[in-house]
Symmetry: C2
Amino acid sequence: MRTAPPATSTDLYQLTMAAGHWQAGRQARASYELFTRRLPKDRAYLLAGGLEDVIEYLTSFHFTEAEIAYMRDIPSFSAVPINFFDDLARLRFTGDVWALPEGTPVFPDEPFLSISAPLIEAQLVETALLAIVNYPTSVATTPSRMAEAAEGRSIVEFGARRAHGTEAALIAARAAYIGGCVGTSNVEAGMRYGIPVFGTVAHAWIMAFDDEIEAFRAYQRTFPDNAILLIDTYDTLRAAGRITEAFAPGEIAGVRLDSGDLGELARGVRGILDNAGFQSTKILASGDLNEWSIAELLASGAPIDSFGVGTDLTTVRDAPALGVVYKLVELEENGAVDFKMKFSAGKATWPGRKQIWRFFGEDGLAAGDVVTLRDEPPPSTGAVPLLEPVLRDGKRVGPPTSLESLCERTRLAVGHLPSALKGRTAPPKPYSVEFSEEIRRIASELRAELT
Amino acid sequence: MRTAPPATSTDLYQLTMAAGHWQAGRQARASYELFTRRLPKDRAYLLAGGLEDVIEYLTSFHFTEAEIAYMRDIPSFSAVPINFFDDLARLRFTGDVWALPEGTPVFPDEPFLSISAPLIEAQLVETALLAIVNYPTSVATTPSRMAEAAEGRSIVEFGARRAHGTEAALIAARAAYIGGCVGTSNVEAGMRYGIPVFGTVAHAWIMAFDDEIEAFRAYQRTFPDNAILLIDTYDTLRAAGRITEAFAPGEIAGVRLDSGDLGELARGVRGILDNAGFQSTKILASGDLNEWSIAELLASGAPIDSFGVGTDLTTVRDAPALGVVYKLVELEENGAVDFKMKFSAGKATWPGRKQIWRFFGEDGLAAGDVVTLRDEPPPSTGAVPLLEPVLRDGKRVGPPTSLESLCERTRLAVGHLPSALKGRTAPPKPYSVEFSEEIRRIASELRAELT
């Protein structure tokens, strides 16, 4: 796993359309853009995700012989000439791609990714691009919200077991780290991406011993410097008390609460630990936590030092589907460039290849974005362009950004968002995204042509 | 991708616990079972998923040299002797596994999977097993509900682009097929699993031509026998009319509606097609459909012949997280077998390795299950045992079941569920699952010992 998805990781209709274009002998170059029309429930921004995997996918795009043989035999292709498949076998992605760096705050109708490539290439990659971008974008956005709720306390991603498969778990661990988690419990993610890994102990460990305190002792012997003991298997407060009797302060790095009334238990446990001189022993809470329950716990004064979050983060339980779409914005054919847009009610799109410019106020906070055609001059001095070239003629532009840099850039970018966007519900007045006069003029012209 | 997940696809705490057990020199053999405590919202049953991937994962389980080197350097392992890692490098999964065949209807507290293995092995595989089983179980259950809503009309899985990554898309396509879809749009799933693939055409195809009818013509030339035309890009009814003028009946296999009021449009389009002699042209509907909207469309008499479902199916939007857990039920050590259970409020478990027996009434429908210890005699004649041995000493028992057989078995098993379980909301009286006297006796004894 975690090799790039195969070229067959696509919807059949991308292939039927490719065959159709091929048969019609079209030599067009198409520009597509990838964006969302709406924000998920309660969100006021998204953090762009998936770019590194997008690059990996596009630069390794090809059909294997076995894939070609399979596709040739699909019944609906019976009337498609064999030469089409010969051409497919030679096909590579040769296009240009501009994109938002991972972790960049992005808003509805703003492109995450802008692709220009021969029509068939641009068409074939749609399904995988959406599948690659949707999920890490949803995940990255979540810890940034949770971090706000946790008021600076650290959050670790614990959700591998609930993700939609082991690959999703890995994608989630990386996206969560970019979005603001301090680490993950996922060993593979630690190894592959260099993300700090964290682990405590499970109920099964405790249950594998006749007595809880034996289980604590055995664990602490193996991890003398960093044992975090799970204390809720039988009686949480009693377990905390027994720990203070069995160990010396400093021998136990932390305790974990995973069930019950976490706020009340944390207060009880903190009292027991402090009374016995265990002030340095930290309290970690876990168990179906999200930004809402974290905020509630802290509002109630729960003395919790860090949080482990799983299910809500890796399944994005409150908004598991992100409606990123991929739409045609320009078509260059026979020497002429046509702007393209979609008019369907509720599904209209903006034409042309774009750039996003972010404006910052005197307080240093983002004040709004203006979206222009890519070749328009900057809308004003001081505006920062967000889309960067990442592939030229199918080849990567520049080296990958390190994960640590992405985390740091994300932290800064989120830090520069207005605080109104950072609540747990969407603000009444959303962030301002305007489209340039030029884009609006083109859209009006296209609309006029249609009627 | 789609090779088995690596052994590092696990939570760090599985490794810390393994190190703890190793250091304590424990030679125990542990039995764990995997089950849910509750059904997701609105469901009255689940269809077990993921077994083929579980077998693949367990039979190929091993740590590579690079993985061992990475783990040895994790800071929290600094006090763990190097021999532990030598042993890890040699570790393979040598346990026994009993499981429900994929697609088997399963209820709360009933084990999907029962594992007996040396303690460390059983511990290390927990995270990946849960990640492998959770998602396809959620997905497989959904089309079985949608098929009920669609009253026999066919449903195709179209959701690759919304799944949590391209691997999730592939898992979903297979699980959806087992659960009752007739096929998928996912080419990779078609190739890898032999699932029938379906495809129509996208709005981008229509937009790539100056005139809609040109787009229809070009597509129909390439796919003369099976063209399904997307007709909602501009004006759905007008497009249907133009099709009847530009083509002969029989030249167009179907039309697809993807936006607007699908019921009203289907009625309008059907009228236009029928009046022009296009009775054989089918209507396919898609666009954020689920069991609720499908049922509503059909209740309103919408003349729709088949449905494409995407987002709700592959993200399991209304219940994206399934709480499958993995709990210790027996521990064999120094020649003695101890039953194990968990007592935490709301998280209690039943002890012992189990078998599920399904009873059928005179109407042939499932009347209830009885869960016994595996070695108990059948609770009565006619009861069918559901868990089957799948691995013995880490080796596969018998050949894999073909996907077609799994689909057929699932169709039969769902057909034998009482109709009260098949509504779109959970019935007031859930399906009866009883635990044998022997299991209840053991649980009482363990509870008594604790207090």
